[in-house]
Each structure stands twice: as structure tokens, then as C-alpha cells.
Symmetry: C2
Subunit: 223 residues, 2 copies
DNA sequence: ATCGAGAGTTAGACTAGTCTAACTATATAT
DNA sequence: ATATATAGTTAGACTAGTCTAACTCTCGAT
């Protein structure tokens, strides 16, 4: 089939919203995420449903079919391999790679991706700690990282996985020198939706809302 | 300015036709090259003229303005650096790189291209022997290769530059094992628009129409 | 000098993706 | 149980890039 980059973006958005929100994906979620109006979303959902890439029930919500998921996984594979290349060989920072990869993922051929994977040594995770689907589009075993919210005050951990798709979150973390490889001490896990950490590089306390801390994966250094 | 990949393709086509035909570029040339109808070309030329990327005189022809040329040179730089990367690091064959680069050239950022050039060691020619514009979009000194048509029967030469944008020409050369680096003996330069050569790898005589031989650049080995 | 073949343009229609305005369904609070 | 705020859909319009059909210009042959 012949899918436009725009249609691919809708599928990707549905995929990530399914993952992040854990509830049925609604028209409004997509229109917010893609910054288009809701009628635009409705008409695209009609067309994707027509092509059996999503199951769309008007007024209820939408989810990806197996075919839709397959399409997205190829894009995710392209994206994460591109990010790996950009960081490891073109010296991009972790916070800068997303936008470039987000564009190119739609245009590289499957052949390109296969060869790039070989060039990179068939990596299983990208530099943000996210898993890279293999050439059969199977996800590797789930990442062994533990969310920052699961640690206790005083634990020292190394950041292995950072959320980076949301520019605001990405820039906040980047500005406070929290990225892949950062070592930090958990300072406080408050009950008012806040986790406070102290990166060893800056020694300055950084506050993180729970919804961000929950998406930061880390490996324990000392308890 | 915000130029669509499609508009960019028209500019590129005009650039290459100016170079190849040496006469004013006409609507029909473009419609043949891009495989669209002539009214489509007319309307795009109106729009490009509007944006001062070309000078278009109805019924007469079209040529690039300085702004149009600059746009194209950035694309040419993107394209040739991408081809270099594909061949040198992803192990593509010289005859396979064009299509991938032709697509990606529209989507890589200037930042990407700058970093890729650094990664590749700031090359001045691509693997087809074509010149790569520098970061200020200046073309390096003209290539020192001599067209195959300029040699005498008996000369032994190494191929340094091959035409590869036309799929038919490219596939013909590739099928007869003539590519960058091929060593061959010029057998006959006939007056009926034909050059015959014998690649040292195959020892089989290959006939080339003049319009192809003229675009093959070579360096002499023995006279 | 003129005529006609062929190249080129104008007119009008179609698609995908977008919008705004108007209308409808859902679901929550009473 | 119902009203109403909010989310969602339908209707209709617009743009870029494409097409076909119809018309017009150019230039070389006479």
C-alpha cells in the first residue's frame, strides 16, 4: 500500500497515545497531539478505517489494527536507528535528534534501514534507552530499567531512559543536565506528584512532576 | 521561504536540463523529464516565477535565477553527500544510490548535511566523480577528467565519472561492468556516434553511443 | 508572406489534507 | 431522569499539484 507521511503520522500518534494514556484514543487527543482541528482528525480516521489500518468507532475512539501496528513498528524502527546514527556518528545531542529522525523516518527505504542497522551493529536499544524493533518488527525483551518513581530517597541511580518526544519535557531535562548516562541521587518522592533529584554533575536539586519521573528509566548504583 | 519537495524537483530538473542540453529549457523538456503533462509544468513555472526562483517567458523557455540556483546547489550538495555515505558506509552499489539520495535530499536539514560532510571528511567529489558544492554552495574546481570521446583507440584509461541519473544509461553501464574505477581500453571511436571499449575485468567489447561516452570521465593510464 | 504542425497555455475538474461553521451525541451533575 | 456542557461529526470551502479538453502561439516549409 501507498501511505502518505501524513497518514503515517496519525498512525504513529495513535500508537504513542495508546501507550501513554492507557485509555481509548479519542479524536481530541489526536487533534491536540498533531495540532490540527478535530474535523480533520475525523476525516483522516474515516480514511484509515477504510484502509483497515485502525478500528474507528465514531464518538467512541480508535485503535490500531494489526496492519496499522505493523506500519508503525517499521516507522519506530526507522526512527530509533536514525537517532542512534545521528548521536553515535554525527555527534548530535540526545535532545536534538528527535526532530530530524521524525522527518526522515518516513522517507528512508526498508533497504536503507536494514543496511543502517548492520552499520550500527544491530543495536537493540537507541541512545534514549528505547527498544528498537528487529527486522521482523518484533520488539526485543522489555527494558530492565526501573522508573524513577519507584526509588527511595537516598538511592543513587544512573539514568538509562529519558522521555524525549515532548519538546517541553525534553528541553527541561536537557536544561537541567539530566540525560542518558546522568548519575543522580533521589532526594524526595513526595505525595504531591513531585520527585526531586540531584544530578551528580551539577549538585543542584531538580524537581520533576510525577508524569515525567515515571517515564525516566534508571538503573540503581547504590541504595 | 517554504518550498515543497515537488517544487524543488522542478528546480533540480531545470538545473540539470540547462547543463545537459545547452539550450533554453522548454516546457516539454520538463514534462518529459518529470513525467507530468505540460499544463502541469506551465502552472508550476508560473508559481516558481512568482517566487523569483526562475525566469519564465511563456512560449519561450525558463531558466533559474540566482535564488533558484542556490536552492538547487543545496540539494545537489545534500544528494552527493548522501550518495557518498550510502556507498562508503552502507555498502550500496554505485548504481543503487541515486534513488535513495534523490528522495532524502529534500528532507535532511542543513545541520544534518554539515555534520555528514564532517563525518565523511569533507569530500570534494562523490563516488560517481561528480563535484560536491561546499558549505557556501560554491562548486569546487572543475573535475580534471577527460570525456571518453576524447581518447584514441588503444588508450587505456580508468573510469572516474559515470552518468547515473538516467536509469537506462545507469543500468546499461552497470550490466556491462563499467563503473567508477573500471579500467578499460578504448577500442574504436567511430564517426557514427559510437565508442567501443573493452573493460579489463570482462575483456568483452562494449558499445557506447556518443551521448553516453561523452558523459563518462576518465583518466589516462597508458596511451 | 503565409499556413499548418506541433509545442504551449488556458479552463475546468479532481484528490488529499486542511479549515470554519453548524449541528449532534455523550455523559455528568443534579 | 434530564439538562446541558463538551466532545465529536457533518457540510462546505480552500490550496497545491495533478489531469484532460480546448484553444493559441511559434516557426519552418513552401
Amino acid at each position: 500500500m501507498d501511505l502518505s507521511p501524513i497518514a503515517e503520522d496519525y498512525l504513529k500518534t495513535i500508537y504513542h497515545l495508546e501507550d501513554e494514556n492507557g485509555r481509548p484514543v479519542r479524536t481530541g487527543d489526536i487533534s491536540t497531539a498533531l495540532d490540527v482541528t478535530s474535523p480533520t482528525v475525523t476525516s483522516m480516521l474515516d480514511s484509515l478505517d477504510e484502509r483497515e489500518l485502525v478500528d474507528y468507532t465514531p464518538y467512541k475512539g480508535v485503535e490500531l489494527t494489526d496492519r496499522g501496528t505493523e506500519t508503525v513498528l517499521q516507522l519506530v524502527r526507522n526512527h530509533r536507528l536514525l537517532e542512534t546514527f545521528l548521536m553515535e556518528h554525527l555527534d548530535y545531542s540526545w535532545s536534538a535528534v528527535h526532530d530530524e529522525a521524525d522527518c526522515l523516518e518516513h522517507y528512508v527505504s526498508d533497504e536503507f534501514t536494514r543496511r543502517l542497522a548492520t552499520f550500527l551493529g544491530e543495536p537493540v536499544t537507541d541512545p534514549h534507552g528505547d527498544l528498537i524493533p528487529d527486522s521482523d518488527l518484533k520488539m526485543p525483551e522489555k527494558s530492565p530499567y526501573t522508573a524513577l518513581t519507584e526509588y527511595e530517597p537516598g538511592d543513587t541511580v544512573t539514568v538509562e531512559q529519558v522521555p524525549h518526544r515532548d519538546p517541553d519535557v525534553r528541553d527541561y531535562l536537557s536544561r537541567h543536565r539530566i540525560g542518558p548516562g546522568t548519575q543522580l541521587v533521589v532526594d524526595e518522592v513526595s505525595s504531591i506528584d513531585l520527585v526531586t533529584v540531584v544530578p551528580s554533575t551539577t549538585e543542584t536539586s531538580v524537581a520533576l512532576p510525577t508524569h515525567v519521573a515515571r517515564r525516566i528509566g534508571a538503573r540503581v548504583v547504590t541504595k
